[in-house]
Amino acid sequence: MAMTDITPAAVLVAPPSRFEIARGRFLKYGFGSPLAIAISIVVFAILGWIAWSFLDWAVFNAVWSKENVEQCGEHGACWSVIDARHRLILFGTYPFEEHWRSTLAAIAIVATVLLSCLPAMWQARRLAILWIVGFATYYLLMEGSLLGLPQVTTDGWGGLSLTLFLFAAVVLLGMPMGLGLALMRRSEMLIVKWFAVIIIDTFRSLPLVTTLFTAAVVLPLFLPSWLEGDKIWRVIFGFALFFACYQAEVFRGGFQAIPKGQFEAGKALGLGYWSILSQIVLPQVFRHALPSTINMVVVTFKETAIVTIIGFFDILASGKTAFGTADWAPYYIEVYLFVAAIYWVFIFSLGQYGEYLKGRMALSER
């Protein structure tokens, strides 16, 4: 239909915008009857009171700088603790003068993850190069000795930059491993199939804490020292394996949603196994598995806090250390809120990215 065909009458019957619909419903259900009005008033009064009390505590009566810590009282938040201890929360016990390195390293990891999210990067070679460059940058900056900077061993890594690194390494390593396990599980060779089944079911029946504790503490007791490697790599590998076993089952669900006829059609066209997989099957598997995958990734971000049990200073552990001294002990709520806000920023972004991907993939189904 050409533009000129639109008559004024057609404009008049144009559907209302989503905002107008929402407003209409809000007025209808919220204020349509006296009872609805009464309930709405009560609910909004309670919500408003909660919001006001929080703002009153967190903003209006709050003390912001560490110099004014004596003014901290019972009625307001004492953000002085964040002012004084934010570097501990963000960087753990990483040496004070070297924090710029930890900052850059964390930025490198965030950049790596962001770039991995761009559809333009979704080619095996590009992703491989990106991940190698990203993780090498992180390691070189944090460890330092290869760049001629003062060496900081992994015992000194901590805070947000350690959490981000653990998360990114586990997910980026675990995702291909999970796909591999899922493919092995579908294999027609029984040995391969059973190998995958045993690995997946073994790791799924062990608690994550046990897996990490074994990787960090028990393995070095009987591994030869040349195979031992640094604790952090053993832990990342153990964590990634754990992630992969769950992710393999997520992918398996994706595979099951694809009718067998598609494989057969591919074969009939003369395509090989890998072509059928990469051209026909996998794109659909990823689409079906997407919501559960985002779920796994979000859970993994939060689960990184478990590494404190094997002596890593992730952001939650360094947060606890921040109020773990007599001067700051009363202000643990402020520290927990600060850490929660950081978690929220990252996890909310992940969720929103998931929504974007869903929208993008839905295009192919229209």
């Binding site: 501990l88 040496p95 004070f96 000194g156 503490v217 604790k231 890593f312 250390t321």
Partner: protein, 343 residues
């Protein structure tokens, strides 16, 4: 003539080799080769013992003892590396060589000493069950609690200890148990109890951190029990146990002799007695018998101070916790800490 020289060389070697083998500790040798000392930290903070300051540096009683040991072995307090460890992880980490020594508020128990294959140093701290009471009652010892209400955590060893102790000293009381430590504290703060029982250092921390006016509460002087806290090491390196024990001994002797980080050089220039002279390496003896430098104790005291300085800075009067020395004083001041004889 040549034969005579060769023979004397052989004899000289034969005499020194067993002596050197006796003096050298494998762990000390490893630490010296590595150039860093690996000490246990904590995966968070344990008030007074292991904390992190505003400059992201470790501090606390246990950390200072690690710094003292590092200075003794390597001559520089900053050459240590604190490896954060959780409670569950500390003994496997020691066995696998992730750390050289555990100085981490660790009690000396028979199970750890035998089954876990560890060996312990002399105790450097005694933590015992004590009472905390409201200051306005004007009391200082448990005898004064007569007729009062004592609160305890239900089902703990502390509950039994407190009951039997008060019975022994013949104090009429009314005991109330609470399910959790938090409930117990709030009951005490709400004035429902006159006093409550707990582990001494924890009481001091509670007083310093969770109570608005620490001055209004007193920790009573009675010690109901006492648990020795020691450094733990791997079994099989007696030389290293000697090193750690003499590190602790040197800190205590320095306190006895009044040697502090401020006056150590003065004392070394003009030693008051032969013991001080030997301790500070003015006369030989401290070093070679442990395979270290003669001046290690002098350097150590200059770097971290004597035991009193370390205690006061982290738990005692110069710290926010203000934990009385009590049992952790020298024997000559009513405590149970003592050094072996420096001959």
């Amino acid at each position: 003539m040549n034969k005579y020289l060769a023979a004397s060389a052989v004899i000289a070697t034969a005499m020194t080799v067993p002596y050197m083998a006796f003096a050298q500790s494998e762990t000390v040798k490893q630490i010296q080769e590595r150039g860093t000392m690996l000490c246990s930290g904590h995966n968070g903070s344990y008030f007074g013992f292991v904390e992190v300051n505003d400059k992201n540096e470790w501090k606390g009683l246990d950390i200072d003892l690690c710094r003292a040991l590092t200075t003794a072995i390597l001559g520089d307090p900053d050459k240590n590396q604190i490896v954060p460890l959780s409670w569950a992880q500390r003994f496997p980490a020691l066995q696998s060589g992730d750390v050289d020594v555990i100085i981490k508020a660790t009690g000396w128990t028979m199970g750890r000493d035998t089954e876990l294959g560890l060996q312990f140093s002399l105790p450097y701290f005694f933590g015992g069950t004590q009472f905390m009471a409201h200051g306005d009652l004007g009391i200082t010892k448990a005898k004064d609690l007569a007729g009062g209400t004592i609160c305890v955590e239900a089902g703990t060893t502390i509950e039994r200890l407190a009951a039997s102790y008060l019975q022994t000293i013949n104090v009429e009381h009314n005991m109330v148990s609470y399910e959790s430590a938090a409930e117990l504290r709030s009951a005490y703060l709400a004035n429902r109890c006159d006093a409550f029982a707990g582990w001494g250092p924890n009481l001091a921390v509670t007083r310093a951190t969770e109570i608005d006016d620490p001055e209004a509460h007193v920790i009573l002087s009675d010690q109901l029990s006492s648990e020795p806290i020691s450094a733990a090491m791997r079994q099989g390196d007696e030389g290293f146990v000697d090193t750690v024990n003499w590190m602790l001994a040197a800190l205590l002797i320095a306190e006895e002799e009044g040697i502090t980080s401020a006056n150590v050089e003065e004392m070394a220039a003009n030693p008051a007695n032969p013991r001080v002279a030997r301790l500070l390496g003015v006369e030989p003896g401290m070093g070679e018998r442990l395979g270290m430098r003669d001046t290690w104790a002098r350097e150590m005291i200059a770097a971290v101070g004597n035991f009193a300085e370390i205690y006061d800075r982290n738990l005692g009067e110069d710290s926010p916790y203000k934990l009385d020395r009590g049992l952790n004083n020298l024997w000559s001041h009513g405590g149970v800490l003592y050094a072996p004889i420096l001959d």
